[in-house]
Symmetry: C2
Subunit: 331 residues, 2 copies
């Protein structure tokens, strides 16, 4: 493995230590739980707490989205593994200011189970945790089974809009409803060109043959809908956009925000090359692009590939996207 | 090649098209030269123009640093090749508001030659171009031959400080002097773990054997000072910091800004793991870290590796680093 690591079993500890050193003005590790990252500003009186949690290896997700007007805390799991129920609970407790806490997370079995347990732990202490479960990955289940779909990079928009709504002073139910609307308005797709390796395993966790690509791949290498010959970026970008927009079924004239994320080892120039085709397809369908985010927003270690997320935006979501934010991962 | 590209000979055109679509609110391509990216705000009356230029494949450098309070324009070269003299000249002309233009670029033979020719072209039209040449890469020549050193990621600090000084309304000589001070206060080092491939060539342009790393590698795979067995991130980070600080020779108590950039295919979590060791070594020497920037700031296609830049900062440089900026590549 050509990687900058120490003990393969301590990648998360080492990452968190270097991360907190770099961003000590914005956040820190909870004194009560080394697997909870908390904003320096939290808890904020009169504000609903906003948290998430998930496996490590997706940096800057999840920890890079902690900060002012964004997430108040994140429960941190091992590489590609859910945080514990206790970490979700401790994250909620650390940011509760008496108005309740909303947990905005992705639809994975481990996360679902541990968040449910955290809700029970919290209820015993009189702390209410509301939830929104992200299901933006269109390739992980058909439209009729949207509840089975995974959460992927649409979570960034869910956190941004939910975090901003909480910063406006909204109630727990209002924040939950806005975050739910944000993720309901998102559709995402991933395309993989190369696998990644969990350092403690030492070999790739799946195979993508040279000359092929896996369409619909998940953030942990979950199989996509098909393996096909690697085509030009123009074709790949057009088809990614077509797939999410076919699922979205937006009226011409609708406004959208676009997020293209590398999966870890994809150079930025290639994301721009994809964007050329993606924005052309979006424009061809008569949609208006309000914002474009391109970079490494939600990754999978050193996987080669990219995800596209399209969120339909109304005036509320536009306003929330535009709110100032101070966290490591967003401008 | 597992890459998102179209015609390998048109990577730069395709990148620029997707880039401009994504950031049309900030910048565009010059109507007179498709290899010049110009800020939407330029030229700004009463302000010195600030430009740079360089080969493509280092995204977000150079084009991602165009924007308000940063660079006014960038001359864009082919992959890993200097822009033409005409592109440097056209970039200067596009941003000149009568106070002159400063070109802040890196020390490479092609860039040196073409900038010199651009200065002559400009002089004929009464346009003054001042220059600062970045030499921050400590491994590319000994301290006694600093003028031979290459410019690497320290250029980001040079652009930030020079761009901010120009935005304050400083004169051409003042902007030049501040940018020169910024780069004189920078020392950088690169470590490579894996090579990159120019799409039109189709195979890696150099080799790094598995289990080894190249210390002092350049942004185009220029040979480093030594090849050694790949060690732990703690050792690599400590040695990177030690090398730049030994060259820097700062008094205890000095304040510094730190920039750690991935080279394209290095996951963010590994940069954080490196940062843990880097900041420990900096602190061990009694230096105070004012700011830390970690991410893909200056890359080399899909090279695996990282660079470290340490800039000593005084009150002026701190003030300039803190000035608001609106460009694709910086928060």
């Amino acid at each position: 493995m050509q990687r900058f690591i120490n003990n393969p079993d301590e990648v998360v500890e080492d990452t968190l230590r270097g991360f907190v050193k770099a961003h000590a003005d914005i956040l820190g590790v909870s004194p009560e739980n080394p697997r909870v990252v908390v904003a320096a500003s939290a808890p904020i009186a009169g504000k609903v707490g906003v948290i998430t949690g998930g496996g490590s290896g997706h940096e800057p997700a999840f920890i890079g989205y902690v900060g002012r007007n964004m997430l108040d805390a994140v429960a941190v799991g091992e590489l590609f593994s859910s945080p514990t129920a206790k970490s979700f609970f401790d994250a909620a407790k650390a940011v509760d200011a008496g108005k309740g806490v909303v947990c905005l997370y992705g639809n994975y079995a481990g996360d679902n189970m541990n968040v449910k347990m955290a809700i029970k732990l919290a209820a015993k202490q009189g702390l209410e945790i509301a939830t929104v479960v992200a299901n933006d990955d269109v390739c992980s289940a058909p439209p009729s089974e949207r509840g089975k779909r995974r959460g992927v990079a649409g979570e960034v928009f869910m956190w941004k809009c939910g975090g901003a709504r909480a910063a406006e002073g909204a109630s727990l139910e209002e924040v939950r409803a806005t975050a739910q609307k944000a993720i309901d308005h998102c559709r995402s797709i991933g395309v993989g060109l190369g696998p990644c390796t969990l350092p403690a395993v030492g070999h790739p966790n799946f195979v993508i043959e040279p000359g092929t690509m896996e369409v619909g791949i998940g953030h942990h290498g979950e199989p996509g809908v098909r393996i096909e010959p690697l085509r030009t970026a123009a074709e790949v970008g057009r088809d990614m956009a077509a797939t999410v927009l076919d699922d979205h079924d937006l009226p011409a004239g609708a406004h959208v925000a676009v997020l293209i994320s590398g999966l870890g080892a994809t150079p930025l120039n290639e994301l721009y090359i994809l964007n050329d085709a993606i924005e052309s397809e979006i424009a061809r369908r008569g949609l208006a692009i309000e914002r474009t985010y391109i970079g490494n927003y939600f990754t999978s270690l050193e996987m080669v590939g990219a995800t596209l997320t399209v969120m339909a935006v109304d005036d509320e979501l536009k306003r929330l996207l535009d709110m100032d934010v101070h966290c490591p991962a967003l401008p």
